[in-house]
């Protein structure tokens, strides 16, 4: 069963995002093109044999809570072991910290393959890597020594504990507390909800990275610190010690990703939970946000993976399902003629094209972001800062577009199957439930849109926006000289102008202190901005496809044409809505509903 296209992935890596240029950097000297090909191949083999065959079962036999413990599907045992052996967990980290210095561009490609195969799995791996990375970047040597290697082997799981019942989007309202003790550790107390991957039968220990407030810390985000809180204490020799009273209170039953557990955790309820400060007091949120950029790109990648799997499932169906007949030139159908396959109906082709355009455009954007992070790592001074700014402005888009447009794509995938799509026997309904979470966790679409318009667009006097505009402009320039691409290059230029028009209209509101008006349609602005950004990615794909063999090139150019005709054309309407000053949402008082 096909769930992604290896040829397209290789094309995006090599031809669109120029992996070989990246491999010339000293940091990545351990890899060459051949080893990356082997790696992609190995992860495909792993996904074909160990991940994809279990995706439906993990939904049908979801994880459950029993006797204080979460039980996940049996297959997770061998998966975690193999992923650890293959060194897939912290491969992007520095060699000195136990990583392999694999470019994030490639790392994200590998995880995309796994996610397309089975989106219930990678969260366990990704959170463990993210937690280990936080310890490596901000923890003491002692914490690193004690915890990181077991996590990278996937023997111990890692988690991120931010959310509390009263503090979801608004992390400044966190109330979990940390009381300093005499030996320099802290005593942690509090309830954390919706904590992913925080318990199962296949890890001996869980290393929770917990946001909490040290007694007497200032209110708001400036008083939040980060702690490492193990489920079992770890002795000096690395062996497991006493229970650290991190209790699993329950497991949430969910709409989707039912194999990926989400739990309610209680710290310090049944006894003392010792926590170790990571970095400095009151800087927890800053540390967490560094991690969250990568987690947000990862969320977008996961949305892309699910949408890819849905696309290929619906494509196969469309090639096999006979239904209806083509009209003859008389306008009539001939009932004695055999039925045609649904893939021959223009409306079905539209649904397939839409999915393809979203999946490949999103994947390209995710990889672009990853490449910027890589470039940031290997460059210095102003160049480094530029890549940092580009990552900052694109991250909320890489999180949001694949999750929102991906949702739409999977929905169309289901539609392709007609009534069968609605049946539990077919997997499309599961993908639709699975992808639904992506626009919620790691910051909702609303929050990402506020981040884009409220922070990223304006940061350093618009420096990030200017850099991105420059990147888009240089793609436009390249495309202007190619006949196949010229008209799209012009449309992209117009799209970029529409963003400018919106900002020129909105900025005065912000200057006058009317921030509510400035931000009220942030999500619509996100829609416009991200559509333009995906148009940019498609133009890059178009340019690179010109050197490919005829069939591949035609497939890419045609999908690009679809995106420009059917999606870029929406931008004008969005701009109109954003610049409309009637303030419909603001003026709708709560009692008017």
């Amino acid at each position: 069963m096909k769930y992604y296209d290896p040829q397209t992935l290789a094309f995006l890596l090599n031809d669109v995002h120029k992996l070989e240029d990246l491999l010339k950097k000293e940091r990545f000297a351990g890899f060459d093109k051949q080893s990356i090909d082997l790696l992609l191949d190995a992860v495909k083999d792993f996904s074909d044999s160990s991940l994809y065959p279990f995706v439906k079962e993990m939904d049908e036999k979801p994880c459950f809570f029993k006797d204080g413990k979460v039980i996940v599907h049996d297959q997770f045992g061998p998966i975690f072991q193999k992923a650890g052996e293959m060194e897939l967990i912290g491969a992007f980290m520095d060699e000195k910290d136990g990583g392999m210095q694999l470019p994030l561009l490639v790392f994200n490609a590998l995880y995309f393959i796994m996610e397309a195969a089975n989106n219930h799995v990678t969260g366990y791996l990704g959170l463990t890597a993210g937690a280990a990375n936080l310890i490596v970047n901000f923890g003491t040597e002692e914490l690193k020594k004690k915890y990181v290697s077991k996590m990278l082997e996937m023997k111990w799981g890692g988690t991120m504990c931010l959310t509390e019942p009263q503090a979801g989007s608004s992390l400044s309202d966190i109330t979990s507390s940390a009381k300093p003790t005499d030996d320099g550790t802290y005593s942690i107390k509090g309830q954390k909800i919706f904590i992913s991957a925080s318990d199962h039968q296949f890890s001996d220990n869980f290393i929770h990275l917990v946001l909490a407030r040290v007694d007497g810390a200032p209110a708001g985000t400036k008083g939040v610190s980060l702690f490492l809180v193990p489920q079992y204490r770890v002795n000096a020799d690395g062996s497991l010690g006493d229970y650290n009273h991190v209790d699993v209170v329950g497991e949430f039953e969910k709409l989707g990703q039912r194999g990926y557990c989400t739990n309610h955790m209680a710290f310090g309820d049944s006894g003392e939970s010792i926590g170790y400060l990571v970095g400095e007091e009151n800087k927890g949120l800053t540390y967490m946000f560094q991690m969250m950029n990568e987690a947000r790109i990862a969320s977008g990648r996961m949305g892309t993976g699910i949408a890819s799997a849905a696309y290929y499932a619906s494509l196969q169906y469309a090639k096999e399902r006979p239904q209806g007949r083509k009209r003859q030139s008389s306008g009539k159908k001939d009932p004695s003629e055999e039925q045609t396959l649904i893939i021959n109906h223009p409306d079905v082709k539209r649904m397939l094209l839409h999915q393809k355009a979203i999946v490949e455009g999103s994947l390209s954007l995710v990889l672009e972001c990853a490449r910027y992070v890589d470039m940031q790592m290997v460059s210095e001074g102003e160049e480094k800062n530029n890549y940092h700014l580009l990552t900052e402005i694109l991250t909320p888009i890489a999180k949001t577009y694949p999750s929102e447009a991906g949702k739409e794509a999977v929905d169309l995938g289901l539609q392709v199957l007609g009534g069968y799509g609605y049946m539990m026997d077919f997997i499309l309904q599961q993908y639709l439930r699975d992808i639904r979470i992506i626009s919620i966790y790691e910051g909702t679409t609303g929050i990402q849109s506020l981040d884009l318009l409220g922070r990223k667009v304006t940061m350093m006097e618009g420096a990030a926006l200017k850099l991105l505009a420059g990147e888009i402009e240089s793609t436009i320039k390249m495309a202007m000289s190619k006949n196949e691409l010229k008209s799209h290059a012009m449309s992209l230029g117009e799209g970029a102008k529409l963003i400018e028009t919106c900002l020129a209209h909105l900025m005065p509101h912000a200057m006058k202190g009317n921030h509510e008006r400035y931000l009220a349609d942030a999500t619509i602005f996100m829609d416009l901005f991200s559509t333009v950004v995906i148009g940019w990615q498609w133009l890059k794909i178009g340019i690179a496809s010109l050197d490919q063999d005829a069939a591949f090139k035609q497939s890419k150019l045609h999908t690009m044409d679809y995106f420009y005709k059917y999606e870029m054309s929406r931008c004008k309407g969005l701009q109109k809505t954003i610049c409309d000053d009637s303030e419909i949402t603001i003026k709708m008082e709560a009692e008017m509903f």
């Binding site: 082997l38 790696l39 060194e87 392999m100």
Partner: protein, 245 residues
């Protein structure tokens, strides 16, 4: 223990097969190549044997430069070094002679192959190599354990299994369930870059056979669905259309 594993570089089983040059040549366009699946079992068992009792694994392929990514994969999975005999593998005897020439003075305790290639499915090379070297050759081997200088193996035979013991060295054509295919890990892939891959010229032997034409099997006919209540129609179709009864 010194193990030689002979691997083929064959089209992925999902490839679309086509021919060119008046149906005398295989069309490689757009075809993804892999390690022969049976050879992959042989390699996996070699890695396990090495893990158990140490030693080294050499992989050998008779093929042109294009087979090197496949050889690299074998190195990534766990072989220590590789030899490529720089020649197009025209026929089984030619290939066997190349392998025998390498093995003759190589001091290998064990020569593992697949039970058959999956492109031409000859199942001949292991027998020929055994003959050329004057050592036993067994196939298809389903389990293989080493105890000192002796090997205990089981073979699939018509309607059952055969258990054998034989002295080292010998040639084995392997098949499942001898070991599970191994997926290379990242460190293996990285170290494969620096493991030695020696390219050798072929012996002077000339291939003795030549392909005059390839032919694909005829396309399968359409499926006909017969109502379970309509046995007469089924019998009629089997008799008069399919002509099988």
């Amino acid at each position: 223990m010194k193990i030689l594993v002979c691997i083929t570089h064959v089209p992925d089983t999902t490839s679309r097969i086509a021919f060119t040059d008046g149906d005398t040549k295989f069309d490689k366009n757009g075809v993804q190549f892999i390690i022969g699946p049976y050879d992959d079992y042989a390699l996996a068992r070699a890695v396990e044997l090495k893990e158990q009792s140490g030693g080294s694994i050499t992989v050998l392929n008779v093929g042109e430069a294009e087979t090197e990514p496949t050889i690299r994969k074998a190195l990534a999975i766990g072989a220590d070094d590789a030899i490529r005999i720089n020649a197009f593998p025209e026929d089984a005897l030619f290939v066997a002679k190349q392998i025998a020439a390498v093995a003759k003075d190589g001091g290998f305790d064990l020569i593992l192959m697949g039970r058959e290639s999956i492109d031409f499915n000859g199942g001949q090379v292991h027998g020929m190599v055994g003959e050329l070297l004057g050592i036993p050759s067994v196939s298809p081997v389903m389990t293989l354990d080493i105890d000192g200088d002796t090997a205990k193996i089981s073979r699939e035979i018509e309607g059952g299994k055969e258990y054998m013991e034989l002295p080292l060295p010998f040639v084995a054509g392997c098949q499942e369930p001898i070991a599970e295919w191994k997926i290379p890990n990242m460190r293996g892939i990285m170290s494969a870059r620096t493991k030695p891959l020696e390219v050798k010229d072929p012996t002077g032997d000339a291939p003795k056979t030549k392909v005059s034409k390839f032919e694909l099997p005829p396309a399968k006919g359409d499926v006909k669905l017969v109502d379970p209540d309509n046995m007469d129609e089924l019998v009629n179709l089997l008799k008069n259309e399919a002509k099988v009864i």
